[in-house]
């Protein structure tokens, strides 16, 4: 009987612990998801309801002013620091009153004399909660989660690529556009160049005949192409490729063999070899 009581007490304790760990894991997971969707994350204290913190922001029952206690995530261009007042447009203002403390997961809205954001989500900080007095721990968790965001962006890019290859650039040359598809003269002319890439391995997509591909890329530094990768001979890396839809000629002879032509146009479509393990890991997901 005595053993049985201890056994059940232990069982109950384990259940509570497991349940608590599950709740904690779920909270962390929700928090991570919110951080991924948010460009600006901060904790703060509500100072005004149905108000805006600077001129030019449309004031409504859904806008509140929050005094920033701690900035957890923001792009470097944005000026935001402890003590600043931020306008937050809430999805539902009923959960907030003056003095409410919360972590706000937000997206940028209006940038003027101050910052206005739109709520993606929030987490109320209860004054008697164990985490209330430990913002540093919360911040550390968020910073850790932030590292996963670039993975998320990279994952999206990998998903939209037709091929992801590891390769080495053996040749770079200007592509003389055939007269039949000659582009018109514009400031935004891409000035197409071609990189012949010797494919060492295919991380995504089917086999590549002859292990060579031609990758077209804009050589020009016009505003339209400023974020497109520029290739150099002997460059080695991981390349996210799409079937060529920009230059209108989709195959070409390399070494007497007709090979497919791809483009590599987006920011982050050319990655250093140091990212290989990360890319392989993301492609498995």
């Amino acid at each position: 009987m005595k053993i049985s009581s201890s056994f059940f007490a232990g069982l109950l304790g384990s259940a509570i612990l497991a349940s608590s760990m599950l709740v904690h894991a779920q909270t962390q997971s929700t928090q991570a998801a919110l951080v991924k969707q948010s460009s600006i994350v901060f904790s703060g204290t509500v100072s005004q309801l149905a108000a805006a913190s600077f001129a030019g922001v449309p004031q409504s029952p859904n806008t509140i002013v929050v005094r920033v206690d701690s900035v957890l995530k923001k792009p470097p261009a944005i000026s935001l620091k402890k003590g600043d007042n931020v306008t937050v447009e809430l999805k539902d203002p009923s959960a907030f009153q003056q003095g409410t403390q919360a972590t706000f997961y937000t997206d940028g809205w209006i940038f003027g004399a101050g910052v206005a954001v739109k709520e993606v989500g929030h987490r109320i900080i209860l004054s008697d909660a164990p985490s209330a007095g430990a913002p540093a721990a919360s911040e550390a968790a968020l910073v850790q989660t932030q590292d996963q965001i670039s993975d998320q962006d990279l994952q999206n890019r990998l998903n939209s690529a037709d091929f992801v290859v590891v390769g080495r650039v053996t040749e770079v040359r200007r592509w003389n556009v055939p007269k039949s598809s000659a582009p018109r003269v514009s400031e935004h002319d891409p000035d197409w160049h071609e990189a012949v890439v010797e494919v060492q391995s295919v991380l995504k997509g089917g086999p590549i005949k002859g292990n060579k591909v031609v990758v077209r890329f804009p050589g020009r530094n016009d505003v339209a192409w400023v974020h497109s990768p520029k290739f150099e001979k002997n460059q080695q890396g991981i390349f996210c490729l799409n079937r060529d839809q920009a230059s209108a000629v989709s195959s070409e002879k390399v070494g007497g063999r007709q090979v497919s032509v791809y483009t590599c146009l987006g920011h982050g479509d050319s990655l250093p070899m140091s990212d290989e393990a990360r890319v392989r890991s993301l492609l498995k997901k």
Partner: protein, 507 residues
């Protein structure tokens, strides 16, 4: 007792004097400051004597305080003013969405006559436009609209969107009304007529047959429908030049100027400067054919025949590219008077020379030579406007002595006598270009009441010597150390910013 009374009397007399003197001394010694928060904005009327201009010029770096950490090349500016309420303005530049590569490209909005600006991500283009112009006519009577924009989206192909916003302060993304690919450099002008917005978008449309690419898209129903008119009637070198510029007068007269490329070898365009006119707002059966050239009887008056225009899509004039700067302006109240300005190959020693000519008979005949004071070497980004009193305004940027010098010139007599103000004179070699165009393929000038308003881009070093008429920064800047910070004291690199200005029209 008397001594005590005398002491208190002296104290009473000298204390206010000491306070006033101290305050004046402090004011004199205080460095000009800007920082987070708009409460330190200096209006022209409050500029301190050391920095004030005898002419009431307003010059504002429009990067908001909350973006003090940004280092983008915010080049190629444009400006729209709400005609009914000129306090409301929209400016644009190659400014990316500050928080997300998937977010919408932003515009700058002012609701206080240009004293303060904020960034609102409402264009239909993802992240950053690669061309944007706009106008705010009053036909539809929206207090903070109608903004009509022509934007190019930068992607594998370049796509034009013609779109509108009824409230530029809202977060609603602009409504795309018309879209097509394979066009270049949309340039929007508009006029509100009878409760409807008439919109004119100059584009270089590669979809037009026979290389007659100079085109004006016309909408007389607020952008609900557009009709495209090729305005080129002659043989071309396969296409016209990128710049196609409309100008609209209040009597519904519409002009458009373009470069009719007759020959092109990759480095030089042999080009006519052509002006077309329509007397019915582009709604008649033979739109834009009112002017015919006496030489060939074809539509389009040739202002200058076969001039040589250098085309360089690489840093050539300082760090700027050249090849297609063009502007046209009509007197809003006397549509017979119209000015056209362009740049071509200059005389020896000049890479690129700006010219201005005028017609006073609805474009039938033009001044045979450049107007006085308007042959300007090593200059680009010409923008013309005509004020209500007939005064012509000319904005341009000149490379001179290793600096980019931005001028705004006014004249009431066809530039025979001029008022020439330098708005900015900044180092031309810094910052290093991130992409082209460095300052922009255009800037912009327009007239509002008794003001010329405009935008240009320049190196943003907070150095008062660079801005002879004075300047106001919204972003965190220290004019003593001539440095920028991110608002938290951390240094921020110099970059290219858009500047808004207002200059009173001369009598």
């Amino acid at each position: 007792m008397r001594a005590l009374a005398a002491f208190w009397m002296r104290l009473l007399v000298f204390t206010p004097i000491a306070v006033i003197t101290g305050t004046l001394l402090l004011l004199k010694q205080s460095p000009p400051e800007t920082g987070i928060g708009a409460d330190r904005l200096q209006s022209p009327g409050t500029l301190r004597p050391a920095y004030a201009s005898p002419i009431q010029v307003k010059l504002v770096d429009i990067i908001p305080a909350s973006l003090s950490g940004e280092t983008n090349q915010d080049s190629e500016p444009f400006l729209a003013v709400q005609t009914a309420n000129p306090q409301v303005m929209v400016a644009s530049a190659f400014t990316p969405n500050p928080v997300s590569s998937r977010g919408n490209a932003p515009v700058y909005v002012s609701q206080d006559g240009g004293n303060s600006w904020l960034l609102n991500a409402i264009t239909p283009v993802q992240r950053m436009t690669c061309d944007i112009t706009h106008a705010m006519p009053i036909g539809e009577n929206h207090p903070r609209g109608d903004l009509h924009a022509g934007t190019l989206a930068c992607a594998a192909s370049i796509t034009l969107n013609e779109s509108e916003s009824n409230d530029v302060s809202s977060s609603a993304v602009m409504n795309v009304q018309s879209t097509r690919a394979n066009v270049d450099q949309p340039f929007v002008r508009a006029l509100g007529i009878s409760n409807s917005d008439h919109i004119y978008v100059g584009v270089n449309d590669f979809n037009q047959p026979n290389g007659h690419t100079a085109t004006v898209d016309v909408s007389v129903d607020g952008g609900v429908t557009y009709k495209s008119f090729s305005i080129e009637a002659r043989n071309t070198a396969g296409q016209d030049g990128p710049s196609v510029r409309p100008a609209v007068a209040s009597d519904n007269t519409v002009y458009a100027a373009f470069f009719g490329w007759r020959k092109f070898d990759g480095k030089t365009a042999t080009s006519d400067v052509v002006v077309v006119r329509d007397d019915a707002g582009g709604t008649g059966p033979n739109s834009f054919q009112a002017l015919k050239d006496p030489s060939d009887k074809l539509p389009g008056r040739i202002v200058v025949k076969r001039t040589s225009i250098p085309w360089s899509n690489a840093p050539t004039l300082g760090q700027e590219r050249i090849g297609s700067t063009l502007s046209i302006a009509v007197d809003p109240n006397h549509s017979s008077t119209v000015y056209v300005g362009w740049a071509d190959r200059g005389s020896k020693g000049n890479i690129y020379t700006v010219h201005v000519r005028r017609s006073t008979d609805r474009g039938l005949t033009w001044s045979k030579a450049d107007l006085p004071h308007t042959t300007i070497g090593n200059a680009t980004n010409i923008a013309l406007a005509v004020a209500n009193n007939g005064v012509a305004g000319l904005l341009y940027q000149q490379l001179s002595g290793g600096r980019w010098v931005t001028h705004v010139v006014q004249s009431h007599d066809g530039f025979t006598t001029v008022q020439d103000l330098i708005l900015a004179t900044v180092p031309a070699n810094t910052p290093v270009q991130q992409f082209l165009p460095y300052l922009g393929d255009y800037d912009y000038l327009l007239s509002v009441g008794n003001e010329f308003r405009g935008v240009f881009c320049a190196n943003n070093s907070p150095d008062l010597a660079n801005f002879p008429q004075g300047v106001t920064y919204q972003r965190a800047a220290n004019f003593n150390t001539k440095s920028l910070t991110d608002g938290s004291g951390n240094p921020v690199a110099i970059s290219i910013d858009p500047f808004y200005f207002s200059v009173p029209v001369i009598p």
